[in-house]
């Protein structure tokens, strides 16, 4: 148990490891937050408070930075992240209808996470494979030349596969 916040040491371990690599200067703030998110999947409030206590950087300042940059999340994500490309090339090739189809299929808006915690649906700007537009990525896998129909089927197949493997 940690004396100040009552969290278990195992929970804080990744945080401690990260902090041991930085001096805790203000210019370290963004890299530290990036590392925290990589370890915890998001920026948990208790860790942000701990970070503030440790570095002397005000919580308000940390939150200011965390909310300014779109990379940072303050809530946990679904098991899989679907990122629909909203870059220009994808837009002119119909990415909006892909996002609409996915929203409808998963019953969540962009930015939302399904109730079962399986999928988070996000948009990104240009995944860099514009010649395959419209494109989406599910975790590390890229799916190109999509149609709304194809996109729905990919989700259904994933559900079928995961359902079966359980």
């Amino acid at each position: 148990m940690c004396g100040c916040c009552g969290k278990s040491e195992a929970y804080l371990k990744p945080f401690e490891d990260i902090m041991s690599e930085f001096e805790g200067k203000e210019s370290d703030l963004i890299p530290i937050l990036q590392r925290i998110q990589a370890s915890y999947g998001y920026l948990p409030e208790d860790i942000i408070r701990e970070l503030s206590a440790r570095t002397g950087i005000f919580v308000t300042k940390i939150m200011g930075v965390a909310t300014f940059y779109s990379q940072f999340r303050l809530r946990p994500m679904g098991e899989h992240t679907i990122r629909v490309c909203f870059g220009t090339a994808c837009h002119v090739n119909g990415s909006e209808s892909i996002a609409d189809a996915l929203s409808d299929e998963l019953k969540i808006p962009l930015g939302g996470t399904t109730q079962d915690g399986k999928f988070t649906l996000e948009s990104v700007a240009c995944l860099g494979c514009c010649s395959l537009a419209p494109v989406m990525m599910i975790d590390d896998e890229t799916y190109g030349r999509l149609t709304p129909d194809k996109a729905r089927n990919i989700i259904r197949e994933l559900y079928a596969k995961e359902g079966a493997s359980k």
Partner: protein, 588 residues
């Protein structure tokens, strides 16, 4: 024999790693049959995955759209049997190919080594000419001579604004300070542009060399590369390249034994378009919210951590090494009077051959889009080309003879930008494109300037209203007025250029705006609120495919009889139209 796989992000996204695995498996079955190597993007993104077979006699064959199955076929026929698989060949150095057109109009100066060398091998980079410029600069030239050489080359910043690089270095050299910084802007914020990433992934040493030379020229001993976090592969390759350069003594203390020290660091961005702006980028490296500040003082006087700093784009820096190595004259011989050298464009959108296109400045848009790009994939006429992303504008088809140089492009209302070039055909609605960019800008405005923060929101509301069929008389004029005010009253380039996509589309496609507002029609059939899908009874054979595909359950009818669409349920996704094999579904 050598098998080279193009593993840029584009290649990987198209399944390049599976192709690599397959070749590894094949080579394990046939040890010694060939050597397997990796490289960055070969440029032909439209034909990914690209694999090159290099034979010992110098014959090169590039295959396109290689899958694991095709890899096996190519391996068995070509690698083992010596017989190329003709139908997959997209380019070779011994026979003509239709894809040659993609390269014929190009001049690969920056991209020279991209797609040829293994980006994770400093030896290959050096063998292909990397660090020649740095060695020449550090060992035989004074910083002033370096700056002079860059000035004479006519190199202008490739990040968008086109400011002469030598001039910028001169300003940064002038102040006396205990510490200076040189920063590489690898934030590549234009959504739909990927030139910088391809250079970072394909030839990271070129960028490091440029920073080293720039650092020497201005007197900076520390450098930063600010890379957007969405570019994990570029970051990985940069890290490897920096480590290799340090081991060789090209970075660190006493570079190449010259007494000059130069340390290079990577900073990952965190997702904010505005951080591409110099002062915001500096704030971000310092750990702040990325908000631009008033200039002057310019970064050359007060930049990172309050010290004189110089910021250059990836491509600008990648040009530098070769300019020094080969001399300014060679570079200045390319391009036009005021726009020297070459520029890399990320050709995408509705174009047939999309990918990386590097051309001498002064080449016409038509030569790039039709010559290199091959026109549209659909064969439909081109309507416009968007350049410069959210800061740029749409150039209509009848201006395609415009030469690509800073001044001519600015005269159209668009800008050179950082290199995004998105081709649009008749099916793209210009009001929708304007709304698209404004949606982007509106969510990326940092909020500091009232006009940028609220003005772009008002403009977006108006555009949204127009695309929903609720546009009013006077909306166009209101957009123009707001646009002018935002341009005038914003502190940084984001706000100053934000209205450009709207203003240029109004300038060239005013009638399309008017059709939306007055006739409540979207001529390109893009704006959902203004279109209607209908089934032509005489063409419908009642195959039931559309009814089964419709996600909204809006289509009904019995088998072998014409179907109908319930307009109140239709979500206008267009799935019925694209799934109908009889052309029975129309949209208006």
């Amino acid at each position: 024999m050598k098998i080279v796989i193009g593993l840029g992000s584009c290649g990987i996204a198209s399944g390049g790693l599976k192709v690599k695995e397959e070749f590894e498996k094949l080579l394990a079955e046939h040890p010694g049959a060939a050597e397997l190597a990796e490289t960055g993007c070969m440029g032909m993104c439209y034909k990914e995955v690209n694999v090159e077979i290099l034979e010992d006699d110098g014959r090169s064959t590039i295959y396109g759209e290689v899958s694991a199955e095709r890899a096996r076929e190519i391996f068995e026929s070509h690698v083992l049997g010596g017989k190329p698989v003709e139908q997959y060949v997209v380019r070779s150095n011994y026979a003509e190919n239709e894809n040659d057109a993609f390269f014929n109009g190009q001049y690969r100066y920056v991209l020279d080594r991209c797609g040829k060398i293994n980006p994770e091998s400093i030896d290959e980079a050096i063998a292909a000419g990397a660090y020649r410029g740095a060695e020449k600069a550090l060992k035989t030239m004074t910083p002033e001579e370096v700056i002079d050489e860059i000035l004479r080359s006519g190199l202008r910043g490739r990040g968008g604004a086109g400011f002469p690089t030598g001039q910028k270095w001169k300003f940064a050299r002038a102040p006396q300070a205990d510490q200076k910084y040189i920063i590489c802007n690898a934030d590549e914020g234009d959504p739909g542009a990927f030139m910088n990433r391809s250079v970072l992934e394909g030839d990271p040493h070129a960028v490091i060399e440029g920073l080293l030379i720039g650092g020497y020229a201005i007197g900076a001993t520390e450098g930063y590369i600010y890379v957007r976090a969405e570019y994990p592969l570029a970051i990985k390759r940069l890290k490897i390249a920096i480590k290799q350069a340090e081991e060789r003594g090209f970075l660190g203390d006493n570079v190449m034994g010259t007494g000059f020290s130069f340390h290079l660091h990577i900073k990952e961005g965190a997702g904010a378009f505005v951080c591409g702006e110099e002062t915001a980028l500096i704030a971000s490296i310092e750990g702040q919210r990325g908000m631009p500040r008033m200039r002057p003082p310019f970064p050359a006087n007060r930049g990172l951590f309050g010290k004189p700093s110089n910021i250059n784009n990836v491509e600008t820096l990648a040009d530098v090494g070769r300019i020094i190595a080969d001399g300014a004259e060679k570079y200045a011989a390319l391009g036009t009077e005021k726009s020297k050298g070459t520029k890399v464009f990320a050709l995408a959108g509705k174009v047939k051959r999309g990918g990386l296109a590097e051309v001498p400045l002064g080449t016409s848009l038509r030569d790039v889009i039709y010559g290199i790009g091959g026109g549209t994939a659909s064969g439909k006429p081109i309507k416009a080309v968007q350049m410069g992303g959210p800061s740029g504008g749409c150039i209509p088809a009848d201006l395609l003879d415009t030469p690509i140089d800073y001044e001519s492009l600015a005269a159209t209302g668009a800008i050179m930008g950082s290199g995004g070039m998105i081709v649009m055909d008749e099916d793209n609605c210009m009001v929708d494109i304007a709304r698209y960019f404004l949606t982007f800008i509106q969510s990326e405005s940092c909020g500091k300037c009232t006009f940028c923060r609220i003005g772009t929101r008002r403009m977006l509301e108006i555009l949204t209203r127009i695309t929903k069929g609720e546009g009013r008389e006077g909306d166009i004029e209101l957009l123009e007025e707001l646009g002018q005010q935002i341009k005038r009253s914003s502190l940084c380039g984001l706000g100053q250029t934000a209205p450009n996509p709207v203003l240029t589309t109004i300038r060239y496609f005013r009638n399309e705006y008017e059709a939306h507002i007055r006739d409540k029609k979207c001529p390109a059939h893009q704006c959902k609120a203004l279109i209607r899908y209908e089934i032509q009874a005489d063409k419908c054979v009642g195959c039931t495919v559309c009814a089964r595909k419709c996600p909204a359950g809006a289509i009904s009818g019995s088998a072998k009889n014409p179907h109908t669409i319930d307009q109140s349920k239709c979500i206008k996704c267009g799935i019925c139209k694209s799934s109908c094999r009889f052309g029975a579904i129309t949209v208006d």
